[in-house]
Symmetry: C2
Subunit: 340 residues, 2 copies
C-alpha cells in the first residue's frame, strides 16, 4: 500500500534568516523522511539560486512565488488587511484549501495567529486558539505548556478550554497515557490567585477531566514535571517560557566560566565533556523548536524566529508528527467528549 505524501507549506519569508534556514531545514528533514513534499512560499528569485545546493530536495518541492512579506513588527490587524498575498497567508490558505497538510512559519507570531484564525477558523466550541509546546522537565516526558502568548488575558472559560486542548495534545503528541493537568498559580491553596484561575479550577473539577486535575501548580513545577499539562494565560505562559530560556542560559554561562577558571578545571571539562553535552542536550532550545497553534481547523506550526536550520528542521518534524497523528481529529473527539 502506497502512502500519500505529506505536503508541508513553508513560509520562506518569516524569521531572522529566511529563506536560508527554511530551505536548509527542509533538506535536513528530507534526508531522513521520504514521504514528504515541500511547498516553498516566497520570493522565487531568492529561493531558486539557493535550493540548487540541497540535493535531497531534488524533485521534492514546489515553489509558489510571492514578493509580499509580513515584517516581524507588523501589527496583526494590518497583516490581515494588507498581507493577502504574503508568503504567510498563502501558506495558511494552502492548508485551508487542502493543498497542504500543515503550514510552518518562523514569522510574526501575532500575525500568524490572526491569519490562521481568520482563514482556518477555530474548532467548534473553542473560543480562543492557543500556542502550545512541550518544555523540557526533570522527568523525560516534557511538560505541555499553554498558552504561550497568543491570548494576553483569559477568562475561566478560555483557561478551561486550554486544559481540554492541552490534555489532548499531551495524549496525542507526547503519547502520555493519562495526562495530569495543573493550573499555574502562586500557591497551592484554594484561595490563591485571581478570579479567572479559581473559576477555571472549578470548571475542570466539574468536567470529565476531573480525575486528571491535579490542582494548582507553581512556577518551579513546570520543569519539575509535577503535572503533564500546565494551563495559564498567554502573558504568564510567554514570560515563563522566556524565564526558563534565560535561566538555562545563565547557568550554562556560569559553568563555562567555571571550566575556564584554571588549568585543572579545563582538564576536568575535557574529561566530562561528552557526558555534559549528552545530559544538557535536552535543554537545547533548537530541539524543542516548533509550537502548535492549537484549536484551529488545520495544523499550523510556529518556529522560533531566531532559530537556525537545525531548529527549523525540528519545527518541520513536529508538523509531520502532528499530521501523522491526526491531531485535530483527535482533539475534536476529545472536545465532543468533554462537552457531554
Amino acid at each position: 500500500m502506497k502512502e500519500e505524501k505529506i505536503k508541508i507549506a513553508l513560509d520562506c519569508m518569516g524569521g531572522d534568516n529566511a529563506p536560508k534556514i527554511v530551505i536548509e531545514g527542509a533538506e535536513i528533514v528530507a534526508s531522513s523522511k521520504k514521504d514528504v513534499h515541500f511547498l516553498f512560499y516566497g520570493d522565487s528569485s531568492k529561493i531558486n539560486p539557493l535550493i540548487k545546493n540541497y540535493p535531497k530536495l531534488k524533485n521534492r518541492y514546489t515553489i509558489i512565488h510571492t514578493d509580499q512579506e509580513i515584517s516581524s513588527d507588523e501589527k496583526p490587524s494590518i497583516a490581515l488587511r494588507r498581507g493577502t498575498q504574503s508568503s504567510m497567508r498563502l501558506a495558511i490558505n494552502a492548508v485551508k484549501e487542502g493543498e497542504a497538510d500543515v503550514a510552518v512559519s518562523a514569522g510574526n507570531t501575532g500575525a500568524l495567529m490572526a491569519i490562521a484564525k481568520i482563514v482556518l477558523r477555530p474548532l467548534p466550541s473553542i473560543e480562543r486558539p492557543a500556542i502550545v509546546t512541550s518544555i523540557p522537565n526533570q522527568k523525560n516526558s516534557g511538560t505541555v505548556l499553554l498558552d504561550m502568548g497568543a491570548n494576553v488575558e483569559c477568562d475561566s472559560d478560555v483557561l478551561f478550554q486550554f486544559a481540554v486542548m492541552g490534555h489532548a495534545f499531551a495524549k496525542i503528541a507526547l503519547k502520555i497515557k493519562d495526562p495530569k493537568i495543573g493550573i499555574l498559580n502562586i500557591g497551592s491553596e484554594d484561595l490563591k490567585g485571581n478570579d479567572a484561575v479559581r473559576s477555571a479550577a472549578l470548571l475542570i473539577k466539574e468536567s470529565d477531566l476531573k480525575d486528571n486535575f491535579y490542582g494548582y501548580v507553581e512556577g518551579n513545577d513546570i520543569t519539575k514535571g509535577t503535572v503533564d499539562v500546565v494551563v495559564t494565560d498567554g502573558f504568564t505562559g510567554n514570560i515563563s517560557l522566556k524565564v526558563i530560556e534565560g535561566t538555562a542560559k545563565m547557568v550554562t554561562e556560569l559553568l563555562r566560566e567555571a571550566f575556564s577558571r584554571s588549568f585543572i578545571s579545563k582538564i576536568g571539562y575535557l574529561l566530562a565533556k561528552t557526558a555534559i553535552k549528552k545530559s544538557t542536550q535536552k535543554m537545547d532550545p533548537r530541539l524543542h523548536n516548533g509550537a502548535m497553534l492549537i484549536g484551529l481547523n488545520g495544523v499550523v506550526v510556529k518556529s522560533h524566529g531566531g532559530t537556525d536550520s537545525l531548529g527549523f528542521s525540528n519545527a518541520i518534524s513536529v508538523a509531520i508528527s502532528l499530521v501523522k497523528d491526526k491531531i485535530n481529529e483527535q482533539i475534536s473527539n476529545e472536545l465532543k467528549g468533554s462537552e457531554s
Copy 2:
C-alpha cells in the same frame, strides 16, 4: 563614638524548621556582627533549651514569650483577627513601637504582609506595599524584581509605584548608581501586553524616572541583567521567581547526572569541582534569601519558609543592611522627588 545596637525582632514560629533555624541563623550572624541584639518572639519552652547551645548569642538576646502561632495556610484575614498575640504580630508591633529596628519572619507571606500593612501602614503616596528582592543575573549586580507575590492584580498606578520603589531599592540596597527600569512584558513593541502594563509605561515616561526607563523587557531579560529593576504584578513576579528556581535546579540535576555517567566524567568532576562550586554559588537560593516588604513605615524582611539556618542568617543580614542604609528614609525622599 559608640554606635547604638541594631535590634532585630525574630519570629520564632514561622517557616518549616522554626525555632531551630531562627536561633541558629542568629548565631551565624552574631559571630560576625557585634552591634546587633536579637529579640526572639515565640514559645520560650522551646527556645530556652535550644539557645544554650549557641555561645555567640550569650547576653545578646531577649525572649518574648507567646504560644500563639500563625500557621502557613492561615488566611490573612483570619491571621489579622485572631493572631493579635502571635509571634509574627508581636515582632511587627515591636518595629511599630520602636523596640526593634526590623522584623524578620519565615512565616506565612500573606499574613505577614496583611499584619505589616495594618500595623505599620503604607508610606505616604504608596497604595500597595510590595515584596522585593534581588535575583542573580549574568552581570554581577543582581536584578531587582517586584512585586514577588503580595499583589496578584495591579493597575498602572500600582505598577508605577513599584517602579519608584524598585529604583530606590536598587540605588540604596544594591548600590547601583543610576538604575535602569524595565516593565516585564511579552514583547518589546509598544502595543504588546495588557492595559495596565501599557499605561504604566506611559506614567513612567511622564515622570522624573523617564531617563531611567528602558522600556519593556521579556522573561529572559531578568537573568540576563538587561535592566536593574524589573517591574511586574505579584502573580507574574512570583511565578517568574519560582520558574528561575526550578530551571536552575533542573540544569544542576542534569549536570549531576552527566558527571556520574562514567568513570572518566567522575574524574572530570573531581578536577573541576572547586571551580564549579565557586561559579554556581551565586545560584544558591539560600544566599539570596531575604525579601523586603517595601513601601511601609518600618522594615520587615521575609525569609523563604523552607530555608535552613544559613539561609535564615542571610535574611537577617539583609535586614541589618536595610536598617543601616536607612532604606525607608531614602525611599520617602525618592517618593517626594517623584511626585514633584
